[in-house]
């Protein structure tokens, strides 16, 4: 038989609550308990308020560069909903909703972007890694963290997030391949938001989907509406269960959109057209969920107003907590270089000098 089929596959796209408000009961009913939804909505309102406020903080010079999350709230939140406390959330920088749900104090994120490493001192018991700056590198840490859980036989797993651009990096490939080859309990979630700064996702891949990035490794792949909390929750639950049962990693493409600039250092109008933005504003995941909850009688305007007010107060408090932190000691950046500082580093710290004459004034003859 000269030509036979060596391999065959197909990738599903999952949508439950679509942009027009249609809801698939078969898949969606009971997926998220109704009584959990108000807390979720409150969380989403708070996260978006914080996000928009962070933007203003940067504009008024009170914070450094900040990457807004607005529009991409659902994928990481769905992960956090599907995860246990002991599981690891290994993210990039557009996963505030998931990180906060998983237990990260929001101050941490603000401090990070305010140029303060203390924001990366994740509290003990919160299994999350700090904002990952070099694109595409953190998924390998997720693989390693998950591997350690497998060695320790704890049943804990890791979920890692990254952008469409990140899938072009070699480290993405190596992470996915290690995870699949060693059957590590990891979930890979690509937030395909259409852009990597000014570069459209069509430059990152000539493939029809990002979901197919996972086929290379022989892992199950799925694509979902990333602006649909239900669809994301479904694929996350499946993937987390698969990882936890020892069946290895899953690759999820969450199709979403960054509704704001790449970061505060960016101006998206230079490269994106208004029509595209408008299309995606109509798909904004928050109003979509809100409308549905309202229809189902799970949410109303009064509640919304209440949580908005409470959210604003909480945001204000978090910001003042972050801003009121005492300035770091001038030499604080020496302290954690090693468990034990070598003598030369102690000298540098204590003298704030690298010149031997400044460090050893007795050498001045």
């Amino acid at each position: 038989m000269p030509i036979t089929t060596a391999y065959e596959t197909k990738i599903d796209h999952v949508s439950i609550l679509d942009e027009h408000g249609a809801f698939d009961r078969e898949l969606g009913e009971g997926l998220i308990p109704n009584d959990q939804l108000p807390a979720i909505m409150e969380h989403l309102v708070f996260c978006r308020l914080l996000d928009e406020t962070a933007f203003k903080l940067q504009r008024s010079g009170r914070m450094g560069t900040y990457p807004q999350n607005t529009g991409q709230e659902m994928p990481s939140l769905a992960a956090a909903l599907a995860m246990e406390k002991a599981d690891w959330l290994v993210t990039c920088y557009r996963e505030n909703t998931g990180l906060f749900w998983h237990g990260l104090p929001p101050e941490c994120i603000l401090l990070h972007w305010m140029g303060d490493e203390r924001g990366n001192h994740i509290p003990a018991g919160v299994n999350a890694t700090p904002i990952a700056i070099p694109i595409g590198t953190q998924m390998l840490h997720a693989a390693g963290l998950a591997w350690a859980e497998k060695v320790k036989k704890t049943g804990a797993i890791a979920v890692t997030f990254f952008g469409d651009g990140a899938t072009s990096e070699g480290d993405f490939h190596e992470a996915a391949n290690f995870a699949a080859s060693l059957k590590l309990p990891v979930v890979f979630c690509c937030q395909n938001n259409g852009w990597a700064i000014s570069v459209p996702s069509s430059v990152q891949s000539a493939g029809e989907t990002f979901a197919q990035r996972g086929l290379s490794y022989g892992m199950p792949c799925v694509r979902a509406d990333g602006n649909d909390l239900f669809a994301m929750t479904k694929v996350m639950k499946d993937a987390v269960a698969r990882a936890r049962s020892g069946d290895g990693p899953t690759f999820i493409e969450a199709v979403t959109y960054r509704l704001r600039d790449h970061t505060t250092a960016d101006d998206a109008r230079r490269y994106r057209d208004d029509a595209e933005l408008a299309t995606w504003e109509a798909r904004d995941p928050l109003p979509r969920l809100k409308r549905w909850m309202e229809e189902k009688g799970l949410w109303d305007a009064t509640q919304h107003e209440k949580v908005t007010k409470a959210g604003e107060a909480r945001v204000a408090e978090i910001i003042s907590n972050a801003e009121d932190i005492s300035p770091p000691d001038r030499t604080e950046f020496f302290d954690h270089m090693y468990a034990e500082l070598p003598a030369s580093l102690i000298r540098q710290r204590d003298t704030k000098r690298t010149t031997s004459l400044g460090q050893f004034p007795e050498d001045l003859v």
Binding site: G115, L345, T354, T355
Partner: protein, 327 residues
């Protein structure tokens, strides 16, 4: 001041101008990198170039630094003059292997059959309140690698002349751009193409008491410190980091007998150590005091709240000058 023949430019404008000049006169020159096209680069260094030269010559690549450098090596080996951009020096890491295992080696590996005339543009250094890995100073890493050249301008005029020289150089050049002074000041820059020799330092101010060696953004700090000093300081801007202009450095220290070197990078194994070793070996009997290294600390560059505690400033440079003079 702008005349018919020259325009007042910032350093980053001089870079854009250099790129445009070379692309106009040599269609082998092509630019590739992340966001270099429509967006004109995150620092706007390639602003307007895609509009002028088209998307085939100013190419937005996938987000992959090893891919950018590795494919640029192939382009360079096959007759083109690629100018890959790495968005920040902290993201050279993924390209380290292609730079050091291949770009640096093809000429000697093939005994001249293949060469890699590419110029890797990289914004360099701290002081701009940027996030982690956006403020490092890795020039020593690439200067330890035989087969690469490493260049870093400190003025708009130098930026244009050195960048054009780098593009025309038959060997791979890492062209570090001091991002802290991208827009710090303007000076007249000729509109025409011109080159400055790679491998030659510039004596910024002549002096007789002490030599200060600096490069990139540190030249500005060193100049301020020198000015504040009562002594007659000779300030040298290296312009090229690899290969070092030994003659200019040595001639100066032979004259002054004292030397201070300033760098942003961590002290240990930075370029200041190399210059100290060189000067001591070659000027031993002229030296009145040991060479002093004013450097970043042997720590990770801290996040921006503390970055000015890390970067050598006029206080530390001034103290080193004073103490070396008093020795």
């Amino acid at each position: 001041m702008t005349t018919e023949n020259e325009t007042e430019m910032t350093l980053v404008q001089a870079i854009t101008d250099a790129l445009a000049c070379e692309m106009r006169q040599d269609d082998r020159v092509i630019i590739l990198g992340e966001d270099v096209g429509l967006n004109g680069g995150v620092f706007r260094a390639t602003e307007g170039l895609q509009a002028e030269f088209g998307a085939d010559r100013v190419v937005d690549s996938p987000l992959a630094e090893s891919g950018i450098i590795g494919s640029a090596i192939g382009l360079a080996m096959n007759g083109l003059r690629p100018i890959p951009e790495i968005q920040f020096e902290g993201f050279m890491g993924p390209a380290y292997d292609q730079l050091c295992s291949h770009a640096a080696r093809f000429r000697t590996r093939t005994r001249g059959r293949f060469t890699v005339p590419m110029t890797v543009r990289v914004p360099h250094g701290g002081g701009i309140h940027a996030p982690e890995l956006h403020s490092d100073a890795p020039e020593a890493i690439y200067s330890h690698q035989p087969g690469l050249k490493v260049v870093m301008p400190a003025t708009p005029y130098d930026a244009k002349g050195l960048l054009i020289a780098s593009i025309r150089d038959p060997d791979p050049v890492i062209f570090f751009e001091p991002k802290r002074i991208y827009r710090a000041f303007r000076e007249p820059v000729p509109n025409q193409s011109y080159t400055l020799p790679i491998g030659k330092a510039r004596v910024v101010t002549e002096g007789t008491d002490l030599t200060v060696v600096a490069w990139g953004a540190m030249v500005v700090e060193a100049a301020k410190a020198a000015e504040q000093s009562d002594a007659s300081v000779e300030l040298i801007d290296l312009r090229t980091i690899s290969p070092l202009d030994e003659d200019t450095i040595l001639a100066s220290v032979e004259k002054t007998g004292r030397c201070v070197v300033c760098q942003e990078a961590p002290l240990t194994l930075g370029l200041a150590s190399e210059i100290s070793a060189l000067v001591t070996e070659r000027c031993f009997l002229h030296l009145e005091a040991p060479v002093q290294r004013v450097a970043g600390f042997d720590t990770i560059m801290p996040y921006y709240k503390l970055e000015m505690e890390y970067l050598p400033g006029t206080d530390r440079i001034g103290a080193a000058i004073d103490e070396t003079l008093r020795y």
